[in-house]
Symmetry: C2
Amino acid sequence: MFIVAMATIKEVARRARVSAGTVSNVLSGAIPVSERLKQRVLEAVRELDYHPNHVARSLKLRQTKMLGLVVSDITNPFFPQMVRGAEDAAWKHNYILITFNSDDRQDRERQLLSALRTRRVDGILLVAAATEGDLSHIQCVMEAGIPIVAVDRALESLQVDCLTVDNIAGAQECVHHLIERGHRRIGIITGPPHLPVARDRLEGYQRALAAAGLPFDAAFVRDGAFRAEGGYQAALELLSEVRPTAIFTSNAVMALGVLRALNEMDLESPRDVAVATFDDPPFAEAVRPQLTSVAQPSYDLGYKGVEILLRRIHEPNRKRVSQVLKTELKIRASTEPRTSAMEHDWRHTSAMG
Amino acid sequence: MFIVAMATIKEVARRARVSAGTVSNVLSGAIPVSERLKQRVLEAVRELDYHPNHVARSLKLRQTKMLGLVVSDITNPFFPQMVRGAEDAAWKHNYILITFNSDDRQDRERQLLSALRTRRVDGILLVAAATEGDLSHIQCVMEAGIPIVAVDRALESLQVDCLTVDNIAGAQECVHHLIERGHRRIGIITGPPHLPVARDRLEGYQRALAAAGLPFDAAFVRDGAFRAEGGYQAALELLSEVRPTAIFTSNAVMALGVLRALNEMDLESPRDVAVATFDDPPFAEAVRPQLTSVAQPSYDLGYKGVEILLRRIHEPNRKRVSQVLKTELKIRASTEPRTSAMEHDWRHTSAMG
DNA sequence: GTGCGGATCTGAATCGATTCACATTCCGGA
DNA sequence: TCCGGAATGTGAATCGATTCAGATCCGCAC
């Protein structure tokens, strides 16, 4: 293997006829160096196109200026924004990000955390695969002295900083909006019940019903597994069984499944069924009808997550923080008021089903 | 700052009553160690929860097992798949990925490459901000001995491996499909003309027209800057000026803009206007109508890109490779045949405009 | 001319893992 | 019993930057 060696600090030193320490001082600026030598050093740096070896620096300083970021799956349209936010914040503070996908599998998460630990990252931003049960692998990393911030999904049982979104309030506000529009038969397609995020959104749904004095009926609840296919299947079932006049999905990809189901059943939104969803991906405004949705501050989740993490790195003994970001309801065409004629029609039809 | 030091190889050695070298040999498996000592070492490793310091390892071995990945913007739905592919391939070969966004800005790209260089990544996967003009910052990195693979956008003027998509053929096939469906007035919304990707797709459009003996009219070409807003504006213009019966967009986010424009102008696809687009994001099947699209093998772009890069890292003197991946045309509802009545109607209208 | 303080610089130790020259052990065969 | 050589271990040098104790230099006051 042919290696083109990069210049080292010693070569720069030799060329500038100074010691390595002086080169270091010039570049770091920590200790003043005479103008004469400084110029010599800078010229040598330029001539050799010297780029300090950050690996050696990390070893000596015992900090890598690297942060780990573990998300479920970057392919899920919710995460890119968050990753982008995290990256921007990290870059701003001269840190770099190592991003991993866990696919929400705990065994993989365990491996990833182990890899990050061996790489000596200074801290980890974690969207935990599971938030309950055996969290020992996370605990271990913390005990090894690597700060962790739980993003999007809180880890109540661990002493970690958490940055989450108010899922309950977001879902509640949205379902309340549906109720306000006259809907009484509202279906919900949820995510995997073992995920608190999914449970919280269901909780918001229930609270909205309760607040309006409406009864809760489990037949209107389906698990779409947070996936498009699941949303599709769940929608087919709901529409052919309990006939809701509105469907609320707990994330956006499932909403796509719902739209596909409507398509196939030759139903139209909002005429036949109102649709609203958690998440507000770019396509929400492009689909027909445009989707009423609960926008999460996903960019902020990443950006602030990194800021909390950096703060923790510098103040390891700071009090544990747990911040909850608000969602924003974006009302669009998919929940526009229906005509009373249509409403009547559906009432009639569903009574027959 | 309170530091919880992690165990070092020396501590493991002391606890197992062996030398550091022996611990290293046990863990790497390169040199055989007697069963007796091996067990002692492994037990010490377990007791101390030893995780080798990869930073020290990198310094000594002069390889970090890190790859850099520079994309335009992870927020663009085309990239997550690619990043995921790259990450999977990297992880499989025990490499990690450092992902950056350049926003297609050359100054930023320069900084990112410099950062990657100082970090001593073993190689870089680059979606270049520009493919022509001053590419010296890229050239420098290569001269420093860091292999680069240009993904998605070729760098013809540099001696780098390239992995791209056949944009010309993909666009041509798609436009040919529109022609086959009877369209004669076909608008195209392109990306920034300084990007070869955009130029190639336009080239494919032109070739399709030429192959069918249709004249090329610049009035049917608009620049949508690869952004939703641009696609929206361009569509409004096209539809109110030259009245195409079909619109082809050079990327998917612009197609979203087109759909929004149709929405606002109260036009319907495919009844009034057929729509087809380059890129095949998840929402292509969810929007109404489902979008005919040119699917890029974006996951493969990342996966194979990393494999080419790793191959280059191990064989620096290998002949330069330049691989072109094929696209796949996915025909969906947005280009379904129109009735002749409709066609007539439009001919009439456009003649008036 | 001498001495002294401050400003600059140098040189060596250090971070933690790898590796290689060398030391030690152990075994069979003579 | 002794030797050769294979098998197994040890210890020190090394990677490249940082940092700090100590060396050197300079000007100035006495």
